[in-house]
Symmetry: C2
Subunit: 552 residues, 2 copies
Amino acid sequence: MGVADDFATTHRPTLDQAMQAARSRTHFSAYPETPSGKIYGEAAKAEAEAAFNSLLNRPFEPGARQIGAEVSPWGPTFGITYPALDVATLVARAEAAAPSWAAAAPESRAGVCLEILRRLNRDSFLMAQAVMHTTGQGWAMAFQAGGPHAQDRGLEAVAYAMEELSRIPGTARWVKQAGKEQLVLDKQFRAVPRGVGLVIGCATFPTWNGYPGIFASLATGNAVIVKPHPSAILPLALTVRTARAVLAEAGFDPHVVQLAPDTPEAPIATELATHDAIGIVDFTGGPTFGRWLREHVGGRKALHTEEAGINPVVLHSTADFAGLCRNLAFSLSLYSGQMCTAPQNIFVPKDGIETNEGRKSFDEVCAALAAAVDGLLADPARAAGVAGAIQNPATLERIAKARSLGRVVRDSAPIPGQDTARTATPLLLAIEADACEAWGEERFGPIAFLIRCPDAQAALDYAAGSARARGAITALVHATDEAFLARAEAAFARAGVALSENLTGGVFVNQSAAFSDYHVSGANPAGTSCLTDAAFVANRFHIAMARRPAAA
Amino acid sequence: MGVADDFATTHRPTLDQAMQAARSRTHFSAYPETPSGKIYGEAAKAEAEAAFNSLLNRPFEPGARQIGAEVSPWGPTFGITYPALDVATLVARAEAAAPSWAAAAPESRAGVCLEILRRLNRDSFLMAQAVMHTTGQGWAMAFQAGGPHAQDRGLEAVAYAMEELSRIPGTARWVKQAGKEQLVLDKQFRAVPRGVGLVIGCATFPTWNGYPGIFASLATGNAVIVKPHPSAILPLALTVRTARAVLAEAGFDPHVVQLAPDTPEAPIATELATHDAIGIVDFTGGPTFGRWLREHVGGRKALHTEEAGINPVVLHSTADFAGLCRNLAFSLSLYSGQMCTAPQNIFVPKDGIETNEGRKSFDEVCAALAAAVDGLLADPARAAGVAGAIQNPATLERIAKARSLGRVVRDSAPIPGQDTARTATPLLLAIEADACEAWGEERFGPIAFLIRCPDAQAALDYAAGSARARGAITALVHATDEAFLARAEAAFARAGVALSENLTGGVFVNQSAAFSDYHVSGANPAGTSCLTDAAFVANRFHIAMARRPAAA
């Protein structure tokens, strides 16, 4: 394994930095998020656009049965098809490829993983095109979240895996005095991968949400089958192609990683997930299939899901009302609320909140937030960049139906000039706290509620209670009162929600930083697992032991 | 929390040693396994017998509804009753007690856990009586496995928990340069217990199998409800009483640990396991209820089960045939095969095996093993000490039915002179390899098959295949051929079975050493989880975070 060893040596410093960052939870990024020609090459963007165009209207790879019907939320139809394989073939190939990958040293596998990530990073401009035109993200987000940030998350998973694997001693001599007899055993331990990993991708963040499971399973020695969402195949197809090229170069069977595209008419996720050969399932998507997986797969296989989150904001008081509105308007507008971390429910005391500009009534808070969204999106080009397009047509229907749920504080509308794209700016609705049938379920997309609560404590109680009962991934609270912040910290800690406080500048509640933030908790219905801790990797392998009397 | 801090300080050296041992997997034991008067006090045994007798024929504690009908497999009826509570009361008390336990520092909780274990250790002679007369174990095993070895396993769980908890930084300052702006966030992290832990005990090793879940959940901050097997309440009742006394002394609500006895007629395990407040379930017992738990609980709660194991032995060759027979005879006889680690299926080549005494035919192997069992159990007093009594009357029926499954090589019989006890020595049956409907299921108790295989490789293939398909916890192989041992290591590693090789002396395949051996793998149907690794504790808590802009 000379090539794999070279990769391991080359990338060891990056891996060490990543492991150190994951321990200290300080800022770290291995892949530059700035789409600069100085970093990525002055021609990178133009070349990526050409490369993207050359992919259109043809098979991505040869293969007997071609499927694929991706259409960009920005307008264009891809015309790309992908070779489809049946489950038996996918599994047979994975099982044939698995043993040599499992037998490789963890360091060698990590080296291969980091080389895959290096090449994915090199190709970030192409990935930006692929992510933009499958998810509807604006270009800048598609570059950052689909490229470097997703790569950081892949590296992060490798770091957790190596941390866990490094804790298993290869051998031990066990010496026990039993009366006059000394019992001496030589023991050997090895990590054995759990089985083939299945990663079920989503339509909005196919790489950012897909890479943790892909790289955690790979780094712990499992072959991986990647089943992309039918609407967002290309980003994962590019990923799998790169992975297979690196694997082959390093002397491994490229079927260690396989793409398993399907169609909405003939989905294969359930057949894959329940196949005996599949030992691990990573899923990002809706709670309906999430529940099915929990009931049918969760009891025996390692299952890690990220499902729906109904993310709350609680307003108590602020020392920067303008900053609060600006920051929150951006969080509501960014990718039109189609992030698992985007806020939906803004709980506001009926008597308003104390601010640096004096007390603001409930209606004034509503009006100021609406104005901040209007201001942010006033320039149509900027609006398109921030809000992006709507990934799924069903979201437009959801917006239309939501209008009757409360008093429209700010209406949703298409972004001017984006005629070929499916766009919608945020809908803000004022509503009473007891109308929980309206705000108490996930309304995926640019729909947010300003919820009139008896007081700030009631706002917190509603928010934390909803998170515990229905799930949430993030929460944002604004308060100048340390005692209130402490109560919020306790309540959201118990509810398993990542809390941000008093964000008024350039950090947003939607953002989860690799290596530092714990993303998803597993402690409420928004998902079964944290994606960034020891438990996310520790059950992807078991530790095998053999012991024998030591030679005399 | 002065008292808890004192406990933490007192026991810190023991905890550090335990954590170091769990990392290095070398021999360690905190609690002396020798039932010596010099260690435990010269009067300890007599006092324990008196204390045990004083428990009989009365309520263990006052309470309105008293239940309990334990009968010793050695003869005596206990006449002890225990206060029974309904599920709603148990859960309400646990939830009321939980917050202050959750809020305590991990070091304080570990100190309390180690003080509980210290007192349990002090009372090991009483525990030996309780374990002997509920499980039917011989006194020596009841002392060791029920006392010090179980205490070591409790300590081990605390060590894993502290290892995981120590990896979470309390705070971090996150600094990111974003263009000209510097983003600075202060972050705080805390481990939040998952919810109330439920430990469902078994009838054969109530403490040894119960302590890992109890102490892992306690050390990670969860309140615990202990539901003992109706046949083996007393050992866990004593445990819970000790735990509650220490908790109260340390200023915690004693309901952090509660006993939840039930009866076979009105079992409460399903109602407890599915209660929303229960976040963690630890279960040792049969695969029928194990499957129910996997299907109904496994998808959302942290579930750790140890179920049935059909443990194989593979004979290829040996340099010490007499030692092989002696060692294996002991493993078959010890506690009459009622250990989760006891062998059931001995796979032997039809042409026999090479030994230091020349080639031994299949029939000679059968005869030699039968003779070794006869020799071991020739003295009735020693036989009773080694084989103990039969915990469950159904096991006697199982032996009776098993006689027709093959050729009786050695018949089972009661141990002479144990008239009040329910005893049965090992039944050895010779059988063909293709009779897998006979040997392919668990025959719990002193029933073993000598299985005639085409050759040694076929023997290995049968053994590993059965382990993968039907579950196994341990395997034993005898071979002088390193290449065969390497194949066995690979096969059993993949099957998730702890392998012992060439045991001919004072270590037995049934023994799993705390801090060193990985017990259960979670990689085959014998259980969902290893009980001695990071994954066993890592999902008993989640990591909560709160972040805010750093003060300027």
